[in-house]
């Protein structure tokens, strides 16, 4: 019983990790909490649903969702955030602008796709798999594997490629990176694209798991992903993965032992406790500011 819940939690936690990585990537480079991440996640799910409902199949839906969310993230950066950076505006202006973007996306979806809950086809439904006496659905396993594959891919990109090196350099010190010939603007754009992509993949996977899509789905998922990112230490990629899994498992256990109404609260309660005890997260470095 416990093992089953823990495994359920790990499967879902992997998707939270994917959302959390999206936060971490942007935070690492811009020190900005991307509040639009949740809305972009919901946007990705809606785009996938749009393609699926036109009977184009699953793979095109995935690709379309990734592409559109990537583009919308990049546009958000280029049109709204880049001018603020150019003006050297205080950080809070970027934060508020991002909230505005989030709000526009969410409400436009509500107007275009209306605010009812729409069914989403179940992904990769091949029946159940029994493993160590625990029954898991193929949807869960596929969700786990796809999220894992994306996380591995991201790790490889960030740690072992030239773009990744540039990303890490920009995160360390954007000014110095610029002087060393790294086009920081392009790196930021690339980061936003990847972050949007993570949100879209997570959005499609979660919609396939719960088999529904609705316009406000982003708020909750965004908060859970954020909790995971903070728990692991925001800006630290492997921290986000651990954070996501902890949140997923805590949530699954809370639902089993405390009741379904505790599902969404678990993540926030974890977030509160983490911020009270260790604000920099499990793997985060203490924020030391040089004067």
């Amino acid at each position: 019983m416990i093992l089953e819940q823990v495994l359920n939690g790990v499967m879902l936690g992997m998707v939270y990790a994917l959302i959390a990585v999206g936060y971490s990537l942007v935070f690492g480079i811009l020190k900005l909490l991307n509040m639009a991440h949740g809305s972009i996640y919901a946007f990705g799910a809606h785009m996938a649903l749009f393609i699926v409902s036109m009977h184009f199949g699953l793979l095109p839906a995935f690709l379309f969702a990734i592409l559109t969310t990537g583009i919308i993230s990049v546009l958000m950066d280029r049109i709204i955030l880049a001018p603020l950076r150019a003006k050297n505006a205080p950080n809070i202006t970027a934060l508020i602008s991002v909230m505005g973007v989030s709000y526009i996306i969410q409400n436009m979806m509500m107007i275009i796709f209306d605010s009812t809950k729409k069914t989403f086809p179940k992904l990769f439904d091949f029946g159940n798999v029994t493993f160590l006496g625990v029954t898991l659905t193929s949807t869960q396993i596929a969700m786990f594997l796809i999220a894992l594959a994306f996380l591995v891919l991201l790790t490889v990109v960030v740690n072992y490629t030239k773009v990744g090196l540039a990303m890490r350099a920009s995160r360390e010190n954007a000014k110095a990176a610029n002087m060393m010939g790294i086009d920081v603007r392009r790196i930021v754009t690339f980061t936003f694209f990847i972050s949007g992509m993570c949100a879209a993949v997570a959005g499609v996977l979660v919609s396939g798991y719960y088999q529904m899509v609705y316009s406000t789905m982003g708020t909750e998922a965004g908060l859970k992903g954020f909790s995971a990112a903070v728990l692991g230490g925001i800006g630290v990629l492997h921290g986000s993965v651990v954070g996501g899994i902890i949140i997923g498992v805590a949530e699954a256990l809370a639902v089993t032992y405390l009741g379904g109404s505790f599902r969404s609260a678990t993540a926030y309660i974890v977030l509160f406790i983490v911020l009270l005890i260790r604000p920099s997260g499990l793997f985060g470095k203490d924020n030391i500011v040089k004067v």
Partner: protein
Amino acid sequence: MGKLSSVYDSFVDFILKHKKIVLPVFLVLLAVVPLVIKSQYVIRVFCLIGIYCILTLSLNLIAGYMGQSSMGHAALYMMGAYFSGLLGAKLGWPFWITLVFGILGGALGGLILGFATMKLSAGYLSVITLAFGEVVEMVVLNWNSVTNGPLGVRGIPRPNLFGWELTPTNGGFYWLMLVLVIVAVLVSMCVVNSKFGRAVRAIKEDELAAKLMGVHTAAYKVQTIVLSGAMAGMAGAFYASMNRYIDAATFSFDISMTILCIVIFGGMGSIPGMIVGSALLISFPEVLRSLADYRFVVYGLLLILMMRFRPQGLLGGLSRRPYKLPAGVSRPGKPEDGGGTEEGKKVS
């Protein structure tokens, strides 16, 4: 754009220069509104504007003076409304006592938020408040035995002043709203112009420097959020009594966003800005019914455009009037005009 804004700025300067005449006239005009206008609907819109004035003044303490932002302000508003409404409806306590408990309820919410975020940088507070909003809503929806869950609370008593029951029809609520708004304005002014206010503004400008100058930043942050919560709680108690019915859906995320939007629009750190902003943004969907569906999209756009082109808001920013020098000190050279614009841009 530049010409328009300079015309606007000189208009604002004109009002500020003659505020000793403009302000009393304005107050008298506001006070006689219920005697002139008999439409219940208009009075209700006026009361809503008043509620938003209090709410935005409350958020202004956090956003305008401390430089942080809250996305779950509706949760504090909700705590005030539920504390006050439940005591009134279930125990039959009079409004004046439940109002105090509403204020305490909001302050309690502020205390929790403050402790969770006192050591964190600005961005965290907005997310924590968002999560806090969700938690409060969940508690209200699930704690059926106390809060009636999704059914909401009915039959919240009206205030009674020495045997005179205040209702929206006899204008009593309107005057009560006016009094509460004035209280909120006075509290804000006292806070801003005190040692406390200066310390809080120092935190906004540079938290590290403030700390090094001996400002106990964590304590000041918590106190500011508690005070802000208390003001939001007051607005909640008033709303509960005016509407006589509250449920969790009333205090949705949209409310938090509206409050934030007004604060940005009116100008963070400006008390008149909050009042003008509330009046414009709350009456706008009522006036332009055809745009009502898009109102939240408009709010989002407003946030982005204000941040990009006028981050100091309608009435925010530094005063452009020359600094008043003490008697006997002469100004070297010509008085600079527009000296404040450069600095005004920096005010976020």
